[in-house]
Symmetry: C2
Subunit: 526 residues, 2 copies
């Protein structure tokens, strides 16, 4: 597949004329061809107008047609074959196995949402039948279903050029909900974005859907992305990236004449909490596994374990020694972009230079834009007194905080900001001590996991990739897993609607065979 550098505006492809973007190969340290042209205001205007025009038609596609469309996107992505993986490797510096896995995840996500659409539970169909004989007043007939919010702006993430980008979780869930998508490509992987964008565009065409169901814009600066969020035709935003970037988009969305929801996944240091019996039984094994999770993919995961909390003592010492040994052997690895590499180095320097922080281990040094792993240590007192030690360092860096006792451990957790994940390492002997921590942990994180690490987010129905602010801007939601579709829906009630006008999902006979609540009682289709 030839990469042309063109944007996709509805069914068309054309080169943007506002500035130039080139991908950068962080392994080779070289910019890559071709040139991608940035979108102009006119391009944005056209993409939004097409999305608006497509909305009502698209959201009224049958469940089966919409599911088949999602599956066609998945098929088209696979059909590109190795060209996609190779371009993506060059643009991201990520290794082949990781990207083949990520492609599998992306395709799985689209197919999972096809299943969610066919199931129909997301429609939240409810019928309260009329009671004409009720006294003192008859009861009206009420029927409720969820409808799609409207066109959604999706901002691709740098660290998952497939699974969190042009046809990633935000796009898949928005399309599943019935929302057209205007995607803003991440400038770190424009070629990957174009390839995937064309796979979506092709699926739109072969499904006979209106062109505006999908557009892909490049942005040579920040202005087009910001204008996209401000556009009155856009009704929700999906974003994965930095806290600063997310907050800028939130401010724009809230300042609109009609404010809209922004689902921004931003900042998390994903505490790992080591309980005493687990340390006593297997401190070394945990330390080794921790180092593997920390250094995976140069640590460039939203769920990277950036913080370790435990009660000081011999067990924690053994954990730290094992982790240090493994990290010292860890090769440096190319980071996604020179900018991310520079930010990582700055974050690590802050820790290294901090008077109350000890450097426990550094990984093998690298060259060019490779990140060198780092493990640091501090006391509970210092961690509490220095809020900057809670800031995310995006990459393979982690800080061990030594609490004096379990009460001190609890105080450390209570002072944390919201997190995507909290990982607990426990043995049977710890359960009674863990139990009282759970309510606190539930208030702090979207996912609580045991004897593992947050990296490797399973895409399923029971996954939550979300959490209280600042992990995300809306802790009531998840951006991974089938529940993510709920972000792009709103309920509408129909009162005493003539039978001939009722939407199919609310007909008396349940023609779509979906789960429904009748008079408050959930009923499954036969």
């Amino acid at each position: 597949m030839k990469i042309t550098g063109e944007m996709l505006i509805g069914g068309a492809a054309r080169a943007g004329r506002d500035g130039a973007i080139k991908a950068f190969d962080p392994t080779a340290g070289q910019p890559m061809e071709p040139v991608f042209g940035g979108a102009t205001r006119e391009d944005l205007e056209e993409a939004c107008a097409l999305a608006k025009a497509a909305f009502d038609t698209y959201r009224h596609t049958s469940l089966e047609a919409r599911a088949a469309f999602l599956e066609a996107i998945a098929d088209n992505i696979l059909e590109v074959g190795d060209a996609l993986v190779e371009r993506c490797m060059a643009e991201s510096g990520l290794p082949r196995a990781r990207l083949e896995g990520e492609r599998g995840r992306t395709v799985h996500q689209l197919r999972m949402f096809a299943g969610v659409v066919r199931d129909g539970g997301f429609l939240e169909a409810r019928i309260d039948p009329a009671q004409p004989d009720r006294t003192p007043a008859p009861r009206v007939d009420l029927r409720l279903r969820n409808v799609a919010l409207g066109p959604v702006a999706v901002f691709g993430a740098s660290n998952f050029p497939l699974a969190f980008s042009v046809a990633g979780g935000d796009t898949a869930s928005a399309l599943a909900a019935g929302c057209p998508v205007v995607a803003k490509a991440h400038s770190a992987h424009p070629g990957t974005s174009e390839i995937v964008g064309r796979a979506v565009q092709k699926a739109v065409r072969s499904a006979g859907l209106p062109d505006g169901v999908f557009s892909l814009l490049f942005d040579s600066g920040l202005a087009i992305g910001q204008a996209l969020v401000a556009d009155p035709r856009i009704k929700a935003v999906g974003f994965t990236g930095s806290r600063r970037g997310g907050q800028a988009l939130i401010a724009i969305a809230q300042a609109r004449e009609e404010p809209i929801p922004v689902y921004a996944e931003m900042s998390s240091i994903n505490p790992v909490i080591l309980f005493p019996s687990a340390l006593a039984e297997r401190a070394e094994a945990i330390g080794k596994a921790f180092a593997a999770s920390l250094t995976l993919g140069a640590g460039q995961f939203c769920t990277n374990p950036g913080l370790v909390l435990a009660v000081e003592g011999e067990g924690l010492d053994r954990f730290a020694a094992a982790a240090a040994a493994a990290i010292s052997e860890a090769s440096a690895a190319a980071m996604l972009t020179p900018g991310i590499h520079a930010a990582y180095c700055a974050g690590v320097s802050t820790l290294e230079d901090h008077p109350q922080v000890t450097t426990v281990a550094r990984g093998r040094p690298g060259d060019l834009f490779q990140g060198q792993a780092g493990l640091f240590s501090t006391t509970a007192e210092a961690f509490t007194a220095n809020p900057e030690l809670q800031h995310e360092v995006f990459g393979a860096s982690s800080l061990v905080v030594r609490a004096p006792d379990l009460e001190g451990l609890r105080a450390l957790i209570a002072a944390l900001e919201g997190q995507l994940t909290v990982a607990l390492h426990v043995a049977d002997g710890d359960h009674d001590q863990v139990r009282p921590f759970l309510p606190l942990l539930e208030r702090k994180a979207g996912r609580i996991l045991f004897n593992g690490f947050g990296t490797g987010v399973e895409v399923g129905h029971a996954m939550v990739h979300g959490g209280p602010f600042p992990a995300t801007s809306d802790g009531r939601s998840t951006s991974v897993g089938s529940l993510a579709i709920m972000r792009f829906l709103r309920p509408v009630c129909y009162q005493d609607m003539p039978k001939g006008l009722l939407p199919a999902e609310l007909g008396d006979a349940n023609p779509l065979a979906i789960p429904r609540r009748i008079d408050g009682r959930l009923e499954l289709p036969a």
Copy 2:
């Protein structure tokens, strides 16, 4: 029941010391005893601290215990008997029958949420069992449930002193979700608020729940309400009132270090759309019914029909004549407060004095703080050119806008802001013309109703009392009906959690007998 003028802070009752509030009888034109003392910062601090302390215990009550608690509140409200209705009549100027009905609705709401809690569907329980043999990597065990957000601030509304106030829909749904409530009483009905607050407090005590599950504060100005929204222990806000008031609270909530959701129900003019065949068949009957809905309760409903849209012609003339005849006969009625009455008079004057607006009818004049109904008329062109004609006039005032044809009618609707309701009057012969309007209407309103009016909101499972901004601040939600509970929940995922630590709703055997999704497939309890 003696009304003492005291606030309720957890289990205690004490007089506030920051300023004095007196209720005002709008029928008698007299202030009422006793004096209610406004809360100080210390009172607020104590209420929030108690709410936070109560949170984890309260949210872990069993479904049955929580349901019984909600029912006890309902019983306690009824047990007060006529003293509640009488105080409420005096404070609001609303008639007995209306308030007895509203009390019934309030009690019904609490009991409905007890049923919702017992059902357990709101927990959204999901289990994706582990697949240890999956290749290339085994699948972890994932389990998801909704948990309560945290303490909720509830601002009582002036126009529903029972159903949208201290133990109204926001409080009932927040308590059902497992959230403690700190209620800020509306200064227009402090006595009613105290009586109802004591009914809640008594239920907290008899259920053996922690005191902080409920507090009730009076505010002699705006500062306590604002500080309540800003307090870091408050995790969500329910509000029903003016657009200005709602937006002020939203701004505070968004400026917090941890922003929180505000569910503000604010401003709606509830268009009534009359289709040609319906007008041809029964213009007079619709006009009469419209006048009755418009003047009900002095027009003081969020769903009051403040706008009529139709194609000009003989049918619309007959509608207007019938409505005018009925409105001319309508008695003036006491409005809730002198302030609301003054705002109503100002809004009506703007219409009366507008060069492009014709006065079609006025109701009988009243005295003191009585609202005099008004029906006005204008052209589509004038309505479009004068955005101020779209502003809500809270009270029994409505504006008929005459469109040149159906295309013009469509353009009028497209230019409207978000609405709580849209009411369509249609006959069988209109269906083909109505159908293409539906997608547009779904984008504009939370409830679409046929051959009726939006007043008289049925509390059920399929009700939506919500809608796009500015009808509400969050069109993804409803503040009436059982779906309202979802506003106060967020999902948490448990990965590979040891069986002994799992919450009951996620145990293998479904011990709570609730609906759950297993591997994405919805299953009902046996």
